[in-house]
């Protein structure tokens, strides 16, 4: 058998299981944190599980563990299908898949042990940063190597997004983590004061932009037309939106620093660019909606389709809410409140997790060697649990955030603050209970999905390895 005539998907299968394991670990950590907010005794005075350590554990495990594994898995899968060629180096791909788990795993343990660079979403200390950078560059070698050896002339739009993810995240990671090592697990950032803050949020928001948006759009642009069984409504719009997106996003980081000691013009530029960003975001959303129109019957035949449809609603919601919250007059209320936390989760759960779930449900039977998922009813249950969970979550945090925002700033006739910090915390407690309940529903959904995928994998054991022959390129499109 000539291996080069078949796609290679074993690393993708491994990464899909890692995605689900990280989703359970990361979401459970999130759930535990939500529980600690209403029952602070739950930290049992154990330093490793206090809020301050568990919180970066949660964010890093869901973003890099869950999100990162899903992105690498789907990038490996997609780039082969859209380039009509086997992965550039399957062995290197496996190394990336395994070392990514090692890097994230070691990093997370170090966070629990209290080693942190204190930069949000970039808390890993320098030795782990170097490991992550090496793995990421190797990921780039596999991806761009496959792209370079492609058999088809056009580069499909998914690959533009995945390519942007790899290049920009490498740049952000290296620049933001530049530090002077003091010991093996201690270093000092090369930036100071306001500059440090600007670089950090240039990284922070573009991690959202390129990791959690560009990468997932790459996933989405492959999955959606495949699920709908028709091409993207407007390919040109997708490419225009890509370039507008890439150009605009890189400016918006300082909207995290409104009314701080950074230059005023920088805040204004960030605010304006955030508003401009609405255009490419919604262009993508409209493209998706129009691509889906006409594929009505797929809802019955494809269990993952409804996840992808709903992910678009949340994508529209989050990409409208984000620019709105970047307006200074809104930000003055919303900043430092739970509104921000709710906004992040409407994007992370409603958009990122939903599109990942939809994609994995779509890919799993193909990769595991079965005709369909183990139990379609469980997919439905997962869908409703996840939807109810995320809605309860964000509605509760809207209530909490607006109450907090008003109370933070409320003054009496003498100009003194009306409410103390404790007053505001007390008001927040009931909302945090609702959020805990919403988060629990979402978590149970992820557990059900993992079980369903595992059973699907077991059911396909006689049909593996799944060999998919690389189809011939249509005449005229060859490279």
């Amino acid at each position: 058998m000539d291996k080069d005539t078949y796609y290679t998907d074993s690393a993708t299968v491994f990464l899909i299981f890692c995605t689900m394991i990280w989703s359970i670990i990361g979401m459970f950590a999130g759930l535990y944190l939500a529980a600690e907010l209403v029952m602070p005794w739950l930290n049992f005075d154990i330093a490793e599980i206090t809020f301050g350590r568990l919180r970066p554990f949660h964010t890093n495990s869901v973003i890099f563990g869950f999100g990162g594994s899903a992105l690498i898995a789907t990038a490996f899968y997609t780039v082969q299908r859209t380039c009509h060629v086997r992965l550039f180096s399957p062995n290197l791909a496996w190394l990336v898949a395994v070392l990514w788990q090692v890097g994230v795993g070691v990093g997370l343990v170090s966070l629990l042990l209290g080693y942190t660079s204190t930069k949000e979403y970039a808390e890993f200390e320098w030795p782990i940063d170097i490991l992550v950078a090496i793995v990421w560059i190797s990921f780039g070698i596999v991806f761009f190597g496959t792209l370079a050896t492609r058999k088809i002339r056009p580069i499909y739009v998914s690959n533009w997004f995945y390519g942007a993810l790899i290049i920009v995240v490498a740049m952000l990671h290296v620049v933001n983590n530049l530090a002077l090592p003091y010991s093996w697990m201690q270093s000092y950032s090369v930036y100071e004061g306001a500059q440090d803050a600007i670089v950090q949020w240039w990284y922070g928001h573009n991690a959202v932009g390129f990791f959690l948006t560009a990468g997932f759009l790459g996933m989405f642009y492959y999955t959606l037309p495949k699920q709908a069984g028709k091409p993207i409504w407007s390919y040109r719009l997708s490419v225009v939106a890509f370039w507008a997106f890439v150009y605009t996003y890189i400016w918006v980081g300082p909207h995290h620093l409104h009314y701080t000691s950074i230059p005023d013009w920088l805040m204004t530029v960030a605010m304006v660019m955030s508003l401009v960003l609405l255009a490419p975001s919604w262009a993508t959303m409209i493209n998706a909606v129009m691509t889906m129109s006409g594929a009505w019957d797929k809802l019955r035949t494809d269990p993952g389709m409804k996840f992808v449809v709903v992910s678009m609603v949340f994508y529209a919601l989050a990409t409208f809410e984000g620019p709105m919250m970047a307006i200074k007059s809104v930000n003055v209320i919303s900043h430092f409140t739970d509104w921000t936390v709710g906004h992040v989760h409407s994007g992370a759960l409603g958009w990122n997790a939903f599109v990942t779930f939809g994609t994995v449900y779509f890919l799993a039977p193909k990769l595991f060697g079965t005709t369909q998922l183990h139990n379609l009813r469980l997919v439905n249950i997962h869908f409703w649990l996840a939807l109810m969970g995320v809605l309860l979550y964000i509605v509760a945090l809207w209530g909490a955030g607006i109450s907090q925002g008003i109370m933070n700033l409320s003054i009496d006739e003498y100009g003194q603050l009306n409410y103390s910090f404790i007053d505001i915390m007390l008001v927040t407690i009931p909302y945090h209970w609702i959020r805990l309940f919403g988060g629990s529903l979402f978590f149970v959904g992820a557990l059900i999905m993992t079980y369903n995928l595992f059973m699907t994998y077991v059911a396909g054991k006689d049909n593996r390895p799944v060999l998919v022959k690389i189809p011939k390129v249509n005449p005229g499109n060859e490279i």
Partner: protein, 189 residues
């Protein structure tokens, strides 16, 4: 039962004006009237300390604007549904779009009674299930009233829901900007 009621409505003869002036506008008065009595007599409660009471004229002005916003919101949503129907349900009419907004809005408008006791937490607790119910009605009503199959109804329901949530967020943003510029609560900004 919900589906039976919607089916009966789909068979009834009415014009958009009849539906709007004969039913929806009266129902739409429940939230603003409740809000007026709530803000004037009880005051907005954030869950701690004294509630924020507004004067008679301020409460009245806010309630009038609220009523206008609901009316405009009703009409805009109906026209947006009609516009979306060009993709999802080309056969449907403006009547159908008005009917969808009326049935979906009914539980929410009735739940506007909660404004009589304006506590943010109470609103979240009462309105969350009501919104969930309205969502259910939306997904039931679209296929029946617009005469399309269920699959199309789900796609269109998602699109309408996306519009409604975005509109809600836009209102929240506008309110926030209004507060910062001195309309509403006394904030130190």
């Amino acid at each position: 039962m919900t589906k039976d009621v919607i089916s009966r409505l789909s068979k009834a003869n009415y014009s958009p004006a009849q539906l709007f002036f004969g039913y929806s506008i009266w129902l739409g008065l429940v939230p603003p009237v409740s809000a007026f009595f709530g803000t004037y007599y009880n005051g907005w409660s954030l869950g701690i300390s004294d509630p924020i009471k507004l004067s008679f004229s301020q409460s009245l002005a806010i309630s009038i604007f609220y009523a206008l916003a609901l009316i405009v919101g009703f009409l805009v949503t109906a026209f947006v549904i009609k516009w979306m129907a060009t993709v999802y349900a080309p056969e449907s009419t403006l009547n159908d779009a008005f009917a969808v907004v009326s049935v979906v809005g009914t539980p929410i408008m009735l739940a506007g009674v909660v404004h009589l006791y304006p506590s943010v937490l109470l609103h979240i607790i009462v309105l969350s299930p009501i919104f969930a119910w309205s969502c259910y009605i939306l997904f039931c009503a679209l296929p029946i009233l617009l005469k399309i199959d269920n699959d199309r109804g789900i796609f269109m329901g998602c699109a309408v829901l996306g519009f409604l949530v975005t509109a809600f967020l836009a209102l929240l943003g506008i309110s926030t900007i209004a507060w910062v510029y001195g309309i509403g609560p006394n904030l130190g900004v």
